[in-house]
Symmetry: D3
Subunit: 312 residues, 6 copies
């Protein structure tokens, strides 16, 4: 079972460095000020209470500050909480940095990049290949660092590229099993499907939605990007419509945000591969913190189911 | 009550010119060939049977051919059918033309154009005004001739512009009643919301869906068009996102094809005005063929309800 | 942006008169009694805590009492709360009265009455006119003071009449645009549709549902009222059934409480006008407390959507 | 297995008297006129074709005419059809009458009446008893002859009273099992719940919906009737609201036409007893025409399920 | 109105014996340890706070310990809470035992057993009779002591048998009213339908779900048991399939956990009888704690409805 | 594009051997008998009309008879129909046999068997391995010949084994990508999940549902089989519950017939692999009969979508 703040039980003591994600000031029923901090390490987050806040503390303990904390784990309304005994900002001499507290994909981004380039290299249709290559070039930095979501699946640094590379792995195998599938379309759909997340999300440190993300969403944004790129590269024809359809339909149903359901074989397959990798990522991450014979917490992205880890 | 093929009852004789919309060849149980024609006039369509088809008839009686027909109205499985006694292709000397058989908006397209230009003229935000003006210029011909749908509401020549102008009329009044509403946004949303129907549909004679219409749909197509136009006119900023959102959300719900629900006041209002004009158009057209005290046929676009025409 | 309790931020001080809407006694974990008050002004409500309650305070600070309060705004579980420093009941010399704390329609009730009478005057069908006139006479006081709901849209004094008058304004315009619409029916439907709210709700000060409201609801209650009134005025015929149908179907769908969906053109239009005015009222009121560039809180009556106020 | 037209198989000959329910004129593909008749006996209906219709036949063979027919059973699109060889109108000397062809409840209406009076006699609350007695008196004839539905459950002469009496039987037993149940309310709810069907439906011969039935429906109609009756008998108080609620909520859910769900114990029980008797009546009637080891046709009123008749 | 912890109001004092159902340790914002106990008596449960917990208290006050408590009823977030003044474990001399705190069926288990045997005795099909007799013998102890659910209906000792016996009572009456119903099947379905709850649930003291209960559920478990028992008794034939179907379909719909809906008359009836007895049990228990003129709390098992207790 | 009856167009002549799947007798409007035959070859089925049926023909042309037919393809209500000119039963000398007309998996059953054994061989948990081996042995013949469905996916001879082997191929690859997945559980789930189809379906020639299939269904049937097999092999413990859960939950949702949703990682993956292989099989088979640039017919098993075959 993995270690970290997420694995601590009520009654445990804690001492170590944490990153502040959010900080809010409050006042107790006795009129004393206190701070509520959301602290995180690689394993997850915890709500923490600094009951004896001193004047000025709220200007020191703010988002993205690293702190050294001692305290113990209590429980409030059924959730673990950290009661802080002592706290101080990290100093240069502590040798800690923000990236120590941000979860990353288990594969290096250089490897992820190579695997994506490999898939592009295998493509046979020159129009599709040119478009995909141009997109990967244009968004290379973001593609290799952004998460695939704010929470839920692949919500970690390089999560977007990690998700793409996993899907390409599955796609390669499915093309062997179902040889009629058009590999170029499937690969292209996989690389593009979530690419506009680099515009829908704010970044990889404290990820949130941009205004465009909230009002338009990554699916129509990417359809537009494909249209613009095709104009720019002077590519015309059915390939463009089909690529747009692949992105447009990858959520599978209207009520899940795709204004058209998959109407092409490769679009259906893209949707299903996306489903598998997203769900397995969510599940694997949840099961890491659970002992055999126990159930996970309720997983929102999996219809609020609690999953059992068998003793087998 | 309106006249035309739609108003004829079982047992009536018919004689006159009609436009062939579709033609299919069949073989009777006695092995004799026959033709099934879908004939239309301004009031609607009827299935017709030419039981004694001669060799070669199927090459004469094809879609978009005008014919002179005599026959009588029978009933098949609860629907009116025309049994053809005689048929011949129309000749130049008959003085009939395709446009005589195609329903048109009750307002001339020049008037519709003027009303749209009037609304643009009232706009105060220069960016929004420029974009809308550019779109109306680019698609002027199609905007003034296309229907707003294949069937359902405003499914007639210039139906798209007629729908827009009705909605502008309502919008003007709503802006008086709710003065906080941003008139520029509402007008712009109305003019753009269905504009990509000129790419989603094939034209105004025998209207069908294009491939792009089927695989992408007019909503994401228009979002893309707005992005391209903004690039072309070098306009940037929140106006573009907001215009795209207005178009994107105008179907009101994810399951109705809007990947985002309305999240801006004017988007909500646009959706509701669209609903009113679409439903009233469908209802008014159906009630024209019904006597007081009777119910219409089931209206698919209104959840299959039959509407009653009161004796009041 | 509007002023009032609803616009105060965490950390702000407050001092002024407020109306107590609800009062509950509690005991802290130290065994000390405290009072939880729901206080309101014209802008809305806030939960307030009087931590140092003295014996007898619970008999002084009760619902519908005006109080002078000082305190500051804290936050509890994400919602603003008022921590009370001092409190005292208002006195005659303070010159404040309950109506100062109750939101009212932005139009005087005399004006609202006149507009309703104007619509009745325009009616041509004598039966319909007589019935509507009789209803307005019978319920004149309540009609002009009741809100249209407990919370949600037009939940303020004279909200019911304000809602009716807005709808009549829209109806007048729609009858111009769609001349086949029967104006008498539409006007009559608008005036009657929510009239039984004067029996479903308890009044306009601290509005709640009556037993009849909870067990029967304003729709079937109004259908019954129309039947009784027709009997009393000795009016018979289709008008009665049609008026009852207009009221019965105005929620639009069975799952929204209409046992029949609209089956008459004017019933469909009534439902849509009601939708527009209810939603615009809710939206406008929510956006008043939000700065451009921000989102409103989640609006329950609009499917829990948060709306964005553009910088345009 | 029961006998009658419903039990005949393809290939069988038929000869006997039938009642015409509907008659429509048609024209064959050879231009010859024919008649489509819906014929019925006690067991059900069959579509019949009179291919060689003579001029004038359509004025002889009309709805509610009894005819003597010979023919054989064919199949058209999966449904049995009667091909008529000979047909003639019944004559006085034939000794047949309409009531011979209309299904009736298996219990005499005098017995049904007595059982209803017995239940009223058992009531203890004088207000409830007076109201119910008054209703039974006012609608005695219709109550004892009307069916409970156009098709579906208890769709036969005296079906309404038969349904009520069955429900009273169950109610008596349930009051023993759950002694806290208020028997007066439950009995009253049972007698009134469907009573307005005598206004919703046209009668018991060729039953259809009235205009009021279509636009208002029996539930709000009965709520109104209770209000009127209470006024007439000068009864006031909670009994009236509760009786109205019982009728209003007896369909159990908003989407099934009850604007309020059951909110009183007896209302919940009324809904469930209604469900049991309606479903058992539908099921029993369908299973009568099926041999052990077979499945019934799909039953619309039971979610289109086909039921199996076991060999046990 | 019934007495017990569930009937106490805010402000009341309490003193008496209670059973601890759950105990959790917490730490206040001042760093002091406290205990949260869920205490129960026959009427229900209450959350209790022991604010001044001494070291070691958490090892004394654990689940299934009886305690003598004094305290008063406060309110936290809208729910009653018991603030403990003093607490001590019960001693032998107190003369209390766990069964004093556990709700039991209102009928003795010997009587329940007799009624079940009576129904078995009435059966005529020897195969069905043998199977049912064998099951009752095998699970006699659990059948007579287990509850029918963790919460919701019949959630008390011998609740399962009580539920069965009530259903048998109704079934006997329904067989009289609908004589075509196969009584053996209906009785057998009633006795078996929830029997696997003795494996799905952990017992009758602090009832929870077993692993098998969570992963498989009582319906498929019972289908399997019937198959095994048939093998053991060497019974073959349609009876087995039909009994399995009765159990399988008794939840009525796929979304309620029945992989097949009822497809046999007796299965439909079994589902409806189950519904009636479950709902009436829930309702009766909720109404016991409510005065006439009041509404119950929201009942989860009845779609979150609050029921009204009339003044009649 | 594939050849066969399914690929013929209206107007085409046909001559060749076909297998009769169903035969029904009819009578024309002129009173002449005719036969409706459902004929099939490897590519699919067609409705055929033998208009001039001679006496006795209905005893010759019955289900599972091979016939030599000439005729031409007509169209009836939008579907292709074969009008028969001549027909005769096949004779021994024709050298045709039933298996020539029944579609088979594209892989030999010996190869399928080997692949399944290979997967069993890789298992490490001895209990799971023993159970799976025992099942494959017990149902070897049926497992290798049965289809996986009546219509829809893998509805051909050896379709069940083909489906299993495809899923095992995918599973092997997924275990590489997600190394925490328990391969034994996943393989076992795949082999067992649809195995009870050999009892749910009647065979592979003219496949229909058995009574047990209709009343119980393959999911609960297989759960029972696992319980029996475990008893027989004297295997106890969590493996059995987990195997039963894998089978029970493989339809993914209650409304799709799984009384529990997947609650174990391998169950979720099993459901998704099943979905992929089922949908791809349906899609691939439909696209074989469609030219690039065209849409398939509506596919019931894919939510009635028509899929497009791109020109790429």
């Amino acid at each position: 079972m993995k270690k970290g703040i997420k694995s601590l039980q009520v009654g445990h003591k804690f001492k170590g460095f944490m990153l502040i994600k959010e900080a809010t000031k409050g006042v107790t029923s006795n009129g004393k000020p206190f701070l509520t901090l959301i602290l995180r390490d690689m394993s997850g987050e915890i709500e923490a209470k600094l009951w004896d806040a001193k004047p000025g503390d709220e200007t020191i303990y703010t988002a993205e500050q690293i702190v050294y904390v001692t305290g113990d784990i209590t429980q409030f309304r059924g959730k673990a909480q950290l009661r802080i005994y002592s706290i101080r900002p990290a100093q240069v001499t502590d040798g800690v940095q923000i990236s120590d507290f941000i979860e990353k994909a288990p594969v290096e981004k250089e490897v992820l990049y190579e695997k994506i380039m490999e898939a592009i290299f295998e493509m046979e249709n020159p129009n599709i290949q040119r478009i995909i290559r141009a997109f990967v070039k244009e968004y290379q930095d973001e593609l290799l660092t952004y998460p695939a979501a704010v929470s839920n699946h692949h919500a970690y640094m390089s999560g977007l590229a990690h998700h793409i590379v996993n899907m390409l792995h599955l796609a390669r195998e499915l093309c062997k099993l179902y040889p009629d599938v058009n590999r170029d379309l499937l690969y292209a759909g996989i690389i593009l499907h979530d690419l506009a997340k680099v515009k829908e999300l704010s970044g990889f440190v404290t990820t949130s939605y941009t205004l465009e993300g909230k009002l338009i969403g990554h699916i129509p944004m990417m359809v537009e990007e494909i249209g613009l790129m095709a104009k720019q590269l002077k590519i015309e024809g059915e390939e463009i419509i089909v690529l747009q359809h692949l992105v447009l339909s990858h959520h599978g149903k209207l009520e899940w945000g795709s204004p058209r359901p998959p109407l092409i074989r490769e679009a259906e397959l893209l949707h299903l591969i996306d489903l598998i990798d997203a769900r397995m990522n969510t599940l694997n991450r949840a099961l890491e913190y659970v002992e055999p014979g126990e159930f996970t917490e309720k997983l929102f992205a999996l219809d609020n189911r609690s999953f059992y880890k068998p003793n087998i």
